[in-house]
């Protein structure tokens, strides 16, 4: 379980997160929606401590990780998380095999000769096979996302953070990634945090949806209830989003 309390984060000249609080239960698919540039990526980057919050608590299974400074402690805290980057962030110079096994080397005691078996298993989980020796440049956008997800879950993290999983994808590939998120939860029982400006995605897959607005979560509700909320900022965002389709 993750409990976020009064999280705030400022960049030079810009208070991005002011007072974010939420509780993410094990098994949740927790979505955060909001327009571009509102601070969604900042929120999950604070959670995995790629960024240091200015104040507030991030309690992961009982331990507050918001204040950790020590590099080794930070590395330990990050182990609970897998992170799917918006564009995949696969290492260009490495093969799919090397990309997916990357974390195994640093985060697990699995001996090197067993890595390829683990990699095949994780690739199968995202519906890929026989791509181990390809380089990222040889993959389609959709395949890159799948490989990146395989890499994110390779070490068996308890939580997976998805940054804009469907943004920039064609509808078919977007649909595939959506299925993949649901599938990943079903097969591995991970708890997911999805940040996206795709309202349709959030309403469809989530157990709970939050809207990030002006540095705070204005509402955190199950999708059925969230849809019916009358907060003007939520209505506006949902309406503008549905008009664009």
């Amino acid at each position: 379980m993750i409990i976020v309390e009064n999280l705030s984060k400022k960049f030079p000249g810009k208070q991005v997160l002011k007072n974010v609080s939420c509780k993410i239960e094990d098994g949740d698919i927790f979505s955060v929606i909001g327009p571009s540039g509102i601070g969604k990526s900042t929120f999950i980057k604070c959670m995995i401590r790629l960024l240091k919050p200015d104040s507030g608590r991030i309690e992961v299974d009982g331990a507050n990780i918001a204040d950790i400074e020590d590099e080794f402690e930070l590395a330990k805290a990050r182990r609970s998380f897998g992170y799917l980057f918006q564009e995949g962030a696969l290492f260009d110079s490495l093969t799919v095999m090397e990309n997916v096994s990357f974390g195994l080397k640093y985060l697990t005691d699995i001996p090197a000769f067993k890595h390829s078996a683990v990699v095949s298993e994780k690739l199968a989980l995202v519906g890929l096979n026989n791509v181990e020796n390809l380089k990222p440049a040889e993959l389609s956008v959709g395949m890159k996302k799948r490989v990146a997800l395989a890499r994110a879950v390779a070490t068996g993290p308890k939580y997976v953070l998805y940054d804009e999983p469907t943004t920039g994808l064609d509808p078919v590939t977007g649909e595939m990634v959506t299925e993949l998120i649901l599938d990943m939860k079903k097969k591995t029982g991970v708890t997911s945090v999805v940040v996206t400006h795709d309202v349709k995605l959030a309403l469809r897959i989530s157990t709970r949806v939050a809207m990030l607005y002006d540095g705070e979560f204005t509402a955190v509700e199950p999708p059925e209830k969230f849809q019916r909320l009358m907060n003007p900022e939520i209505r506006e965002f949902i309406e503008i989003s549905s008009r664009q389709r």
């Binding site: 790629l50 918006q86 260009d92 990357f102 974390g103 640093y106 985060l107």
Partner: protein, 263 residues
Amino acid sequence: MNSFYIAERTGKKILKTANSLGESALMIKSVFFWLFKSKIEVVEMTRQAVKIGIDSLSVTALTSFFTGMVLSLQSGNTSKNIFNEPLYIGSIVAFSMVKELGPVLTSIVVSGRAGAVVTAEIGTMKVTEQIDALYTLGTNPTRYLLIPRYAAFMLSLPILTLFADFIGIIGGFIVSTVKLQIPASVYWDDIFSYMKVHDFTHGFLKTFVFAFMIATVSCYKGLSTKGGAEGVGKATTEAVVISMVLVLVIDYFVSALLVMMGI
């Protein structure tokens, strides 16, 4: 354009430079920290060293060959005008190459070739979140990228310089025998009777300082890249210009220091 505007811009520039220096210092500190705290990525280091060497080899050879030739030609002709015969051509070429031109030219070539590649590579990784990905997968850019690259520069630049010194002296030799008609034995005897080990040491030691500086500039510029593909191009150009200028500036101060220490 008023003077306030100029003052403001100058002030901002100074602040930015001071900030970059501070951040580079932190980066260097982290390199030393992780150097002793983690296993060195030997495979990655070797790969980088070989890449830097191969990237810069042909340009280094060409540059130093022609530099040796022109040194020989110019000093030969000057000497002929003054003394009616070409004197000390071997030592002029060898001293210039070994103490100054070998290390400096090689460093400039390496800044432009390998340094640019390092900045572009790390910069691309930065803007595509691959640097963040390193953290999420249990390592960090210092361990995985910087240490191997520092080590690679420190390894390849001295070796490339030795090679450049040699090629330059050969270039000088060819011009001195073919054009200036100096007997081969005179050219070589001249070198071996006047060159001392410390002349060689002087140039060789400098290459480590240059290598460290080039690694610092190119890695720092890569890691601080902002703004997509355009930002990568900008960072790369800046890294090359800064490295090249610093090679020449640092060269003076390190040379003065070494001379003071009798090397």
